[in-house]
Amino acid sequence: MSTAIPWSVKPHPVTGIPNAKLGIWLFLASEVMLFGALFSSYILIRTGSEQWPMGRTILNIPLATLNTVILITSSVTMVMAWASLKMNQFGKFKLFQTLTILLALGFMVVKAFEYGGKLHHYEVTLVEGSEAADKAGALKITGHIDHATAGNGGAITSWIRSRDDLHDGKISFVADPPAGSHEHPAAIELAAEDMERLTFFGPHRDTFFAVYFTLTGLHGIHVLGGIVVLLYFLLPGSRMWRTDPERFTGRIECTGLYWHFVDLVWIFLFPTLYLL
């Protein structure tokens, strides 16, 4: 007897769908549980915390809005790629598939800028009563490290994670402009012994950033995975169009389902992290 797998292309007469489509939906169900668990953890941690920063005060809403637009558009191009195959227009498929990949890459580039902004943004907690605290006028200041004048004039190239990483135990720190202004105050010299804690706005800074980086990071990994799959079907995988077009269309549909799910996750992530 043949080992051919039944219903791998044609829809099953009872369920109405082929194997792969059922499979991808089951996979998405488990993804819902994964992100559901993470969202629940977020709610639990947020309700249990004494104070929670408003996302809009620290995160970059314009960039995220741009990314939202990009992802929604990429869903449209994705569905168009599939529809082109349905209408037997392979050339159009290639065009839309390429557009989808470019949009996805665009999303990642914007994300990289957003992450970069955070990773080079620092917060210093100064020692109570120290001279530096008097000079800064507050115990907690945020800003960036002035690399040009850091230490003894030499540039700090390494990534500073905490005050233990300082060259000469000193940094030149430029505080953020006060609210409503765009002028950076003058740089101040801070020594390691002036600081209780020096940290960049990375995942370890507080639970808000922990949630932000974990959720967007995991989403980003999903986007990257999507890009790999999309590229595969654009280049080597598309040979199947000539031998078995129906199966190929089915594969693109499954890819599209996954891609839509990834975009949908972002549409929930954006308001949760940035707006609420």
């Binding site: 109405g16 314009p62 939202t68 637009v69 929604i72 599939w82 599209g256 949908l264 549409i267």
Partner: protein, 68 residues
Amino acid sequence: MSLKAFHIFFILVSTAFALGFGGWALREYARDGGLGMLATGAGSCLSSVALAVYGVWFLRKLKHVSYL
């Protein structure tokens, strides 16, 4: 559920999101001012309309594709 059905669902969610985001931005504008927020709010509300229009167009275009 086919990609067509999921896409329609996705567009519905996106429309609702755009409307919500627009409302949020306009509220921010009402509270703090700032033309950026006004533009964002107006733009987002407009995109929600655009998304709805696109959704209808999409439904027509893929009339013959199954929802399963």
